[in-house]
Subunit: 519 residues, 2 copies
């Protein structure tokens, strides 16, 4: 029970409030109501998808709260608690009213899902109790949960049970960096200890020409140099071409150029193209080259009987990245790195930290110290959301979500084909579709004008809050792009999207000013 | 309202349950009760601090849930919701019952706080709505909140308003890597584009001899090589010695060795030693060397009138790391990087991602795209907890927590001095204290035996669940170490800790077997 202790100094009252179990419970109940009401509105499309406010306006408001009058701890304890509860509610409402509503089915944007709110509740348990791992004893259950999902997800990807190793890290970029760091350390001997400088040719990284920018960044971070990334040629569906890769690797071997890795994609970001992994793996084996697969988005296809064929061969990669916070629909960040050869799990990092890693720890326990495998020392219990969702609904839920959203990619493509004023730019393999709106008036315009018109249109559309979609650049020309990554989105929303694009486009074309300049 | 739709396939029922606003609200209310009861027990020390179970036992249980029977979606919708709610509660209780209870005041362990549960509730809003940033429009409010706390925390550290830049990333290791990557790119020209290999001497990194292992790891990751880390000599309080640093830098300049940075600590991990930053900064200026300060733990001293002097000079560093998830008592992970020169904010990374960074974005908006400054592309709304706590209680709360815990460091030291059977190993500057228990029977033993005895004792103590403390290695000999980082810990708990150590120690010494072997 909360009772008044007038003798307590203000500092103690503030601390006790910030750590009060009663207040935590009270505020958590209030949060439950706020979240439920929010999601009821958002999933029913009662407001705007993106709440657009300019950065300076939002920053000024966020800063106003920080610079404002803090709550007065000097009064009666109950009224202080009331004040905290009231302000908490106001702050949460501010957060909820100014975001991008990914859970609105009209959010059809980046490769970031409308995540399951139930997964977020499991995450909140980890956050509230601050179970951080690095060493097993600091988060024994969090460490065990991470290990258990590393096992089950790896097995789902086709890696034979008990034969591989893996870890979870904070995002796909970091996961790719970790996998490529391991490849560099293994394939460029002594590079961890002595650096990458050495006599002879500098090491190169061979990457899918459309690989995520994080791959080139990794080369920059790892001391290889971004210019040392060679782009593997693509076929007409923007997939890595095994024959051309074979030739490229042969040429590199002929000049004794060290090769850190080949980096393939499942799938690549611009149009969601899946590389032919079995053929790529065969080429890499032939030349004894490390194969890294960025399956951040598409790895989850392995859950689906219908779409598993897209990632056939994933089990032959030396390192694989797969983001649960994409197509497994958990909140950011929860990214996996898998090593086919479990001996590689300790190759990325090596260190001496006596205050942390205790030599008296029993050997089998040190094996569970996640900090030995991840760049993070202190790490969030990032697997709770996935573990919770899987434990509730089984692995079938992940198959359901892949099937639903990948199927809709095909549906949307067929809508585009059928519409005379839309041009799909590829046949989709998954839930990513790039296209352009080309109304009659622009049918004879040059590509740049069409590209700029589409970009202007998108910005107008998203700032209206009616839909959220993204843009991309294909062969130098702007285009529209959707990722259907909210399982509440239906074909009817996609049809409405085309109408909304038409409306905004017509309004732009009707304007007396330069119709295609960026706003 | 939940009504039954018998026509829905199971896959749709599962998805609707995983995204149901009603179920989210219901489960969140259940979570509120579970968390309140948990924290009531834990803060009152009603159970064990660390719930020790062996890794294989925990992993088997975590895996059992994953491999078990998923809930049956085929029945009536209401009963399916009941099943989900019931299993959710069982899963959360499993998580809560098997963790390390950082909120028990007898947790006096690693540099990981008993974080404010209220901060976790703000984090949960970000997690539930999955506001991820990378680009401003994907998390406009999350981006604004990040910017606002970067400003206020930077100003608190002494950086003049409007003159600096900063970012938030997932942990101190990543923050240090980001700062040192920037230093490498700026101080080793073309290393981002062409790699670090070049004619002449290889670049070195000069680091505090007790720097966190993440610093040496950074050298390994960045392609410099871990052997290229030169240890700056320390004084007798394990602080970087400016005169010896001056000599070291002069020698390096004399041989034209490129210097990436000097890495100082505020404070270093083993005994919490704060480097004399003003003098170190003056030496770095004299030799035109980049100064990076790892203030992950101690940066928050700047909030306290009493302890601010420990970080005087922090404003003169080129890059500074400060973890809010340490002494600002928010849940992991929320780490800051600050650049004194704001021009450096885009030096760490450069990329071309047309599907992400839209050329039609108004210029001032691109400035707020966090992905341009962080290794993460998709990123959590990691600042919500800090922003919420600060908005509720004002900056004074952070001063309160620093004062409370740093003061207790001194109190504990005085207890150790007064106890004939304990040996403090240094005079503490903050809330980190290293010491040994040396009972009469061992007073004449060799240091190794005493070190091993202390390690064995610690393992026995933490597995009992009575207290959680850590161990370290000072001058090659094992020692006990506490970080007083739960503001609910009092002097009385510290006194009880000494008694508990005595009891466990006496029990070990009374055993007939080898008393000092690791168990």
């Amino acid at each position: 029970m909360m009772t008044d202790h007038p003798e307590l100094p203000d500092s103690r009252r503030r601390i006790e409030a910030a750590f009060s179990p009663c207040l935590t419970g009270r505020l958590a109940h209030s949060l439950a109501d706020l979240l439920q009401a929010h999601f009821q509105d958002v999933t029913a499309s009662r407001g705007r998808v993106l709440n657009w406010n300019s950065p300076p306006e939002n920053v000024a408001l966020a800063r106003k709260w920080l610079d404002g009058q803090p709550l007065d701890a000097a009064g009666k304890r109950d009224s202080f608690a009331d004040d905290v509860a009231e302000r908490f509610s106001a702050l949460v409402q501010t957060i909820l009213s100014r975001g991008n509503n990914l859970h609105d089915p009209r959010y059809i944007g980046h490769q970031v899902p409308a995540s399951s709110p139930l997964a977020a509740l499991f995450d909140a348990v980890g956050s509230a109790t601050n179970q951080v791992m690095a060493i097993y004893e600091m988060g024994p259950w969090a460490s065990a949960v991470e290990r258990s999902v590393v096992e089950t997800v790896g097995e789902q990807l086709g890696l034979p049970r008990g034969t591989f190793a893996g870890l979870i890290t904070h995002g796909g970029s970091l996961a790719n960096l970790t996998g490529l760091l391991t490849a560099r350390n293994v394939r460029v001997p002594q590079s961890w200890e002595s650096g990458v400088a050495r006599p002879g040719r500098s090491p190169v990284l061979v990457a899918h020409a459309d690989a995520h920018y994080g791959i080139t960044r990794s080369a920059g971070i790892l001391g290889l140099g971004t210019q040392q990334v060679l782009r593997a040629p693509l076929d007409d569906r923007r997939r890595m071409d095994p024959a051309q890769l074979d030739q490229l690797l042969a040429d590199l071997r002929a000049t004794s150029t060290p090769i850190v890795a080949v980096c393939a994609c499942a799938c690549a970001t611009p149009i969601g193209a899946f590389d032919p992994l079995e053929e790529v793996a065969a080429v890499c084996r032939r030349h004894d080259v490390w194969l890294h697969v960025d399956a951040a988005h598409g790895g989850a296809a392995a859950f689906s009987d219908k779409y598993r064929h897209l990632v056939a061969g994933l089990d032959q990669a030396d390192s694989v990245v797969c983001d649960a916070h994409k197509m497994m629909f958990v909140p950011a960040l929860c990214a996996f790195v898998f090593y086919r050869n479990p001996q590689h799990r300790f190759e990325a990092f090596r260190q001496d930290a006596p205050y942390l890693f205790d030599p008296s720890t029993p050997g089998e326990t040190a094996e569970y110290d996640s900090g030995l495998m991840t760049i993070e020392c202190t790490k969030r219990a990032a697997a709770y959301g996935l573990w919770g969702l899987w434990s509730l609904f089984g692995r079938q839920l992940f198959a359901d979500m892949v099937d639903t959203t990948f199927d809709l990619g095909r549906t949307f493509y067929e809508m585009l084909i059928a519409a005379p004023d839309f041009v799909p730019l590829h046949e989709p393999e998954c839930n990513i579709v790039a296209f352009r709106y080309v109304p009659k008036q622009l049918a004879d315009s040059d590509p740049d004008r069409i590209g700029e018109f589409n970009r202007t249109l998108r910005r107008r559309l998203i700032e209206s809050g009616e839909f959220y979609i993204v843009q991309t650049n294909l062969d130098g020309v702007g285009a529209l792009r959707v990722t259907i990554i909210n399982p509440l989105t239906t074909a009817s929303h996609l049809s409405d999207l085309l109408d909304a694009i038409r409306q905004v486009g017509e309004a732009i074309l009707a304007e007396p000013s330069q119709p295609t300049s960026a706003d």
